[in-house]
Symmetry: C2
Subunit: 399 residues, 2 copies
C-alpha cells in the first residue's frame, strides 16, 4: 500500500508533465530519428495541416548570387522538403544518408516556421532559435559530448575600465584537470562574429565539446579558451545584464572600441587564471567580425600572441577609418611578422562573400613575404565552416 | 570610399542575418511588448492563418480537479486567448495589466503550438521549450539581471564513485567577490524535481539572478549554490554527456540511489571550493522530488545541514520502500531535530497535489514537537511558487 502510494504520486507527477507537454506543444513521437544508414526521419503531428515542410542545412542548398562593388558574391540558403501525411496526422520525411555533421532545421507548417516540439535541442544564433541534431561516426563526433574528461565552463564577469559598461561578461573553458593541477596553461582567445556574443562559440560553435575531444585524443594541448563579447555597446549577451531582455539584433563593433579594450581582457585572464603570461602561451582567433578583431588586435599588440587565426575574416581596407587601431596596418603587420609568430592562419570558404577580401589580404601578405597557413574550404559564411576551422586550428597551438 | 566599403560589408553581413532570420522564422515586429501599464501585447505574423491564439500562465488559469486515493487534487492549466488579425496579417492580443512576475507562453496557430519567433528568450522544462518574459517593478525584478555585482556560474564535473557513471555534472554559483576573497563561504545545495537536471534551477528557477539581487540588497548572505543532478541514472543534463542527445523525459529517482551518493557531492564541493565545512555553513533545499531528497538526505546525515528547505516536497509515507535511506525516518528525524537545526522550512501551495501529503508531514512534526517554519502560498505545483520559496528561504540562511 505504501509503495502504491509512492507509485501513484510518481504517476501524478508524470501526468503533470504530460499535461504540460500537451500544453506546450510536446508530441509523443520521435523526431528527428537518426536511422542506421545516417538518413534522418523527421516527424510532425498536424492532422489539420495542408502542407508540412522541413528546411535545414542537411538539404541541398540553394545558392543565392549577387554582386556588390563589382564582386560576385553568394549565400547558401538551406533547401526545403515536403513531409507526407500518414496515419493519425503524423507527417514524415526521410532524408538521404547524411555525412557526419551538426545540422540545423525547422519545420514550416502551412507557411509558419515551427520548432520541432519533439526536439529539445536548440541553438540560438543572434535572435533565431534553431533545432539541431548531430550525426556521429565521423567529424560530428567532435561536436558530441563523449566519454572523456570534461572541462569546466564558466560565465564570468570582469572589470573592463576601457569600456562604457566597466564590467563585462565572458565565457571561459578550463580544460579537465585544470583545478587539480598547479601548472600554467596557455590561452586561446576566441572571438565571435557580428550579432554574436559570449555564448556563440559555446552554443553554436560547440567549443567545449571540441576542446574536450581534441584534448582527450591528444590532438590539442590542454588550454584555456576565453570567449569574449566583442560588442562593447553591451555588457553581456542579451538578457544577462541590466540592459534587460531586449530583442537580440545584429549588433556590430567595427569602430575600434572592442580592440582598444582588449588589454582589459588579457589583464583579467592573467590575474584570475594560471596562465602562461607571454606570447608563446597566447592565441587569438575569430570568425567574420571576430576575424577582423583578431587581425587588428594581434597587429596592435604585436608581442602578445604567437598564434593568430582569421576564420572567414571580415578583412577590408581600413586606412580611412578614423581610429588609431586601424591606422598604419602595413607598418604594424611588419612589426608583428618581424617577431616571427609561430602561426598566422587564414581560413575561408570558396563561396564566402568575404572570399575576395581575403584574397586581397593574402596578396598583401605574399607581397611582403610573410608566412601564413591558408585553409580554403568549400561552402560559405556559415558555422559549419567555423567549427571546421577550430577543429583544424586548435591542434596547431602551443606545440 | 574606404568607409563606404566597410559599410557595404556590414550591410551584406546584415543581409545574411536577415536572410537567415526569414529562413528560421524571425519576423521584424516586437513581441511580446510590455506596455507602460504592464499589460503585454503579443504579435504574430500569419496572413494565411484562420486562428491564432496565445496560451500562458499570465492568463487566468483553468483548474483541473481530480481525485487520487480519496484525495481531492488539482492542476492549474494556463488559459488561452484569441489574437485578432490586423493589417499585413499581423495578429495581436493585449493582456490585462499583469503583476510583476516571470511568465511563460506559446502561440497556437491553427491548432499547432508555435514559439514566438520574435522572442529569443526561452526556457527548457524537461523536454519542453517555452517562451518567457518578465514584468519588472516588483517581485519580477528579482528574476532580472540588475546593475549589481554578478556571481560566476559554472558547469563542473565531479567524481561520484557511489554512482554508476562515476563522474557527474553539477552547476555551481559562486557569489560576486568569491574569487578575489580568501574567506570561506556557506553552501546551499539546491535540488530539482522529477524530470529536471542540473540546469533547472538556473534556467527556470533564475537562481543566479535571485542570488545576485538578494546578496546585492543585503537580504541574503553571500553563499555558494550547488545545483546537482538528482537522477544518478544519468551523468548530466540531456546531451551533455556520452549518453548522447536523447529525448529528455520525466526521469525519476526516488529509490535511494541519489540520496546515498550525496556524500560524494559534499566531499567534492568541500575540496574544490572555500567552504565552511560544518553544519552551520550548509543548507539543503529542493522542490518536489528534490524536496523528497532534501527530507531524506538531511535526516540521514543529521549533523550535516543546519538549514533544510522542503518546497512542494513529494513527502509520502516511505516505511515500505526497500532502501535503508527511507527506513526508520521517525528515529532519524528525532536525531536531526535533537541537533536543533537552525531552520526547517516547509512551503507548499494551497492547490498543490502534494498539499495533503505535506499536511501529514506537519502533523507528524507537530506531534513530535519539532520546530519548523511553514509557508503556505496560493497556487499549485509550479515554478512560480518555487522561485517564490527560494526568495523567501535564501534570506533566512547563514545568519
Amino acid at each position: 500500500m505504501k509503495k502504491l502510494l509512492i507509485l501513484a504520486a510518481a504517476l501524478v507527477m508524470s501526468l503533470g508533465a504530460f499535461a504540460q507537454q500537451a500544453l506546450w506543444g510536446g508530441q509523443r513521437i520521435v523526431s528527428p530519428e537518426i536511422n542506421p544508414d545516417n538518413s534522418v526521419t523527421f516527424r510532425f503531428v498536424a492532422p489539420k495541416a495542408i502542407k508540412v515542410q522541413v528546411t535545414g542545412d542537411f538539404l541541398p542548398t540553394q545558392t543565392v548570387e549577387f554582386e556588390m562593388n563589382g564582386r560576385q558574391m553568394s549565400f547558401d540558403m538551406p533547401g526545403v522538403a515536403d513531409l507526407k501525411e500518414g496515419e493519425g496526422g503524423v507527417w514524415s520525411f526521410t532524408s538521404q544518408p547524411l555525412a557526419s555533421e551538426l545540422y540545423n532545421y525547422n519545420f514550416i507548417v502551412d507557411g509558419i516556421s515551427v520548432k520541432d516540439p519533439n526536439n529539445a535541442y536548440v541553438q540560438r544564433d543572434i535572435s533565431n532559435i534553431m533545432n539541431y541534431f548531430i550525426i556521429g561516426g565521423g567529424k560530428g563526433d567532435n561536436y558530441l559530448a563523449q566519454d572523456v574528461p570534461h572541462g569546466t565552463v564558466s560565465r564570468v564577469w570582469y572589470d573592463s575600465p576601457n569600456t562604457e559598461s566597466k564590467v563585462r561578461r565572458m565565457s571561459v573553458y578550463t580544460p579537465a584537470g585544470y583545478e587539480q593541477s598547479k601548472k600554467k596553461y596557455p590561452v586561446l582567445y576566441l572571438l565571435h562574429g557580428m550579432g554574436g556574443d559570449e555564448e556563440a562559440w559555446l552554443c553554436t560553435g560547440r567549443t567545449a565539446q571540441i576542446l574536450d575531444n581534441l584534448i582527450a585524443q591528444g590532438k590539442a594541448e590542454p588550454m584555456i579558451v576565453v570567449m569574449t563579447n566583442g560588442c562593447p555597446q553591451h555588457a553581456s549577451a542579451p538578457g544577462e545584464s541590466h540592459e534587460g531582455m531586449y530583442k537580440p539584433y545584429n549588433v556590430s563593433s567595427m569602430g575600434g572600441a572592442f580592440e582598444s579594450s582588449f588589454g582589459d581582457v588579457i589583464k583579467f585572464v592573467d590575474s584570475r587564471y594560471r596562465t602562461i603570461k607571454k606570447s608563446s602561451g597566447r592565441a587569438i582567433a575569430g570568425l567574420s567580425m571576430g576575424g577582423f578583431h583578431s587581425y587588428h588586435i594581434s597587429a596592435n599588440m604585436p608581442k602578445t600572441f604567437d598564434y593568430v587565426g582569421l576564420f572567414s575574416a571580415a578583412i577590408m581596407p581600413h586606412e580611412g577609418v578614423s581610429h588609431p587601431i586601424y591606422d598604419n596596418m602595413n607598418e604594424k603587420l611588419a612589426v608583428l611578422f618581424g617577431n616571427n609568430p609561430k602561426l598566422y592562419y587564414i581560413a575561408i570558404g570558396k563561396t564566402d562573400f568575404l572570399y575576395e577580401a581575403n584574397v586581397e589580404l593574402r596578396q598583401r601578405l605574399d607581397a611582403a613575404g610573410y608566412n601564413y597557413i591558408y585553409n580554403e574550404s568549400e561552402g560559405g559564411h556559415v558555422w559549419r565552416n567555423w567549427r571546421d576551422y577550430l577543429l583544424d586550428f586548435a591542434p596547431r597551438l602551443f606545440k
